[in-house]
């Protein structure tokens, strides 16, 4: 059914290809998460500027499900004519192969990279009453008491799950990992003091930190974040190995013509150079990468290294040690 539709669509599209200048109709921009989440917000901000450059609307279509892999699969199987692209992220194009044994796409082989949009730095936060004043104390406390502690995450495969699995494995901690459906409820229980700590994207956490309802121990980037200038980096705190960012980048399905991907890359880079767009992204706490990482080549390199990294982290440590089953 689906393949016949694709066939039909390609028959309809083929005669047009190469004739007129791309794009001549709106472009479907798949966001593999629900509307309103960090990836969706970054996608919509970037899409607005890119639409102006391309002269056609980028229509955001939220195809949520299975940690973003449903939307990514939809994009991988779409007609590669440049009219279907997607916002991939650290999960769908980095950690997914390690998390989902039955993944039906390959983040490297099934996509053409367009470019990096923006990353959102990862923070380590804990409940307000947590007895540690800086990252060093936090790490040694967690190490010593990890069996008594509860760490919250937003489900297997989520950013909070993978990044905190990395953190726990780095310091050798084995807390009970309490699972929530999404970051919101998990954060709620950190604020209420029901659970002890979590790792998550800065976008979700800034207001709570500013209001002193949770404690922030470190930001996992090379430099401090301008929206939270008082929070030290992991390097300053003595845990330089913990460097992660929930990056968001644009991909097209494999086989998309190079002249099309070039246009898309140029439009993306122009959007990221635009002062208004930059400001909106930075105000969110997002992390804008350097020019080189924004290129398709830079992104291709990143995807390869991320797939390798998460494969190592999740396969060797985290997945083998799930929360102890309730007796």
């Amino acid at each position: 059914m689906r393949s016949s539709l694709v066939l039909l669509a390609s028959v309809l599209v083929l005669p047009l290809e190469g004739m007129a200048a791309y794009p001549e109709r709106p472009i479907t921009f798949i966001v593999p998460f629900a509307a309103g989440g960090p990836t969706d917000v970054v996608a919509r901000i970037v899409a607005e500027n890119m639409s102006k450059t391309l002269g056609q609307q980028l229509v955001v279509e939220n195809v949520a499900g299975a940690g973003g892999t449903t939307g990514a699969l939809r994009c991988a199987q779409a007609t590669p004519d440049g009219y279907t692209i997607m916002m991939g992220h650290m999960g769908t194009h980095g950690a997914a192969p390690a998390v989902y044994a039955d993944l039906k796409y390959d983040p490297v082989k099934d996509f053409v990279p367009i470019g990096m949009a923006a990353g959102t730095p990862i923070l380590i936060v804990a409940k307000k009453s947590f007895p540690a004043k800086d990252l060093k104390e936090f790490v040694s406390y967690v190490k010593a008491n990890s069996e008594k502690l509860n760490e919250a995450h937003a489900g297997v495969g989520s950013v909070s799950f993978t990044t905190c699995a990395f953190f726990n494995s780095l310091i050798g901690a084995k807390p009970t990992r309490v699972v929530y459906r999404g970051t919101g409820p998990a954060l709620n229980d950190i604020v209420a003091g029901q659970v002890d700590y979590m790792c998550d994207q800065i976008v979700n956490l800034v207001p709570q930190i500013q209001a002193n309802s949770i404690k922030a121990y470190a930001v996992a980037t090379a430099q401090r974040s301008p929206v939270l200038p008082d929070v030290p980096t992991t390097k300053e705190g003595g845990l330089a190995e913990f460097q992660v960012s929930a990056w968001n980048a644009i991909f097209a399905p494999k086989g998309t013509p190079p002249e099309v991907t070039k246009k898309l890359s140029a439009a993306l880079q122009k959007a990221l150079a635009d002062a208004g767009t930059r400001k909106r992204l930075l105000d969110l706490g997002a992390d804008l990468t350097d020019k080189e990482a924004q290129t398709p080549e830079g992104l291709a390199k990143l995807v390869q290294s991320e797939v390798a990294r998460w494969n190592k982290v999740l396969k060797t440590v985290a997945m083998k040690e799930p929360a102890p089953p309730p007796k």
Partner: protein, 500 residues
Amino acid sequence: MSELVSHLALGFSVAFSLHNLGLAFAGCLVGTLVGVLPGVGPIATITMLLPITFSLEPVGALIMLAGIYYGAQYGGSTTAILVNIPGEVTSVVTTLDGHQMAKQGRAGVALGIAAIGSFFAGCFATLVIAALAVPLTKVALLFGPAEYAALMTAGLAFAVVLARGSILKSIMMVLVGLLLSTVGRDLETGVERMTFGYNAVADGVDFAVLAMGLFGFAEVMRNLEVEQARDVVHKAIGRLLPTRADFRQAAGPVVRGTLLGAVLGILPGNGAVLGPFASYTLEKKIARDPKRFGRGAIEGVAGPEAANNAGAQTSFIPLLTLGIPPNAVMALMVGAMTIHGIAPGPLVMTRNAPLFWGLIVSMWLGNLMLLVINLPLIGVWVRLLKVPYRLLYPAILIFCCIGIYSVNNQSSDVIFTAAFALFGYAASKLGFESAPLLLGYVLGRLLEENLRRALAISRGDLAIFLHRPVSAWLLFTALVVVVVAVLPTIRTRREEVFVE
């Protein structure tokens, strides 16, 4: 007190600008019109209309989005009453008596009492938010995983009371609902459960799919079975507005529903879904003649609708004061705020005071506008029922399909809906009700997740549910509800035996 007055004055000065009034009106109108399409609930409506607000000022955009939310919510009740299709979880209960009223030619009265009850609840809830939002935040934080697990258990007890017919059959349907809620990838381990390797259900069965199938499609099939079955609705349209007697009957339920809904709406773990169910349960229990329920009792529409709207409004409290969205609609509002450069959180109230109070006042305004828009529209909606059914049902089916597709943009969802329709049709032929199944489905997931969370935190010690006072009280309530519900049936059965 004087602080409250000055805050409200600030709010009024923001919300009453011509620009913002216009946006509130536009939001309510568009929300009502889109929300009235069967299958299109508030989430789908807001997602569709979100881009429209991008060019607006943040305050205006939020006011408009809030308007869309109430409008769509109310639109969902309209389809529940007219064509027996709940647009979302909270209007499931409205189908029970609302649609029966429509069949008796009292559709106008049902719609009218729903609008007026909602307005009352909205006014009250706005005041609650304005006066008590900050202290109530503490209540919200009292609820941990153990308390939610207990609350959901109490919710399941309501299902027994919801039953129109056999209690045994309704318990069976609740269990089927619970089973359906376990389909999909397990959050904790990532293992797929009961998906048979089928990707479309990897995240479980969608509520819209289940509800449209069991109610919407199945209802159409039931109607087509009897030739001219809808003539009942055609013949007598009846009064458009409720009579004084109707008001007298509905007043108590509206007040009680408002209170129940407002309290449950505050809980950040989506307690609002329980509001209408709880209100229905209460009304049926205290009614002099509970047999009228399920056969077009006006209390069964008035109470739950008030609870629904009060809960919809107070569910803004966790969002506005904690910055934590309690449900999918509120998560969308967070996204909308973020896109407009406002980070929702505990500081919004002080840093963006005009926005905060403007939004609160606009909630009340939105409710007023809904009343203004909907009372005249009742005539239009009711006239829709005059359309011959052979023309109406294809339209219902098409809109349902569009609605379902728009939720996740998945064509497989539409096919699943058709399958659930067959199931729902067969079940109703055999005397099984769909509403308890939906309740079981909605609560099942929340119950399971919170139960596992609570046990993970207590390291497997079940005593956590009794050590924590709130949870112990809730479990006690559940027990009382079940005993009170089951006792009369046992007694009647004894009497029946005696008569024979």
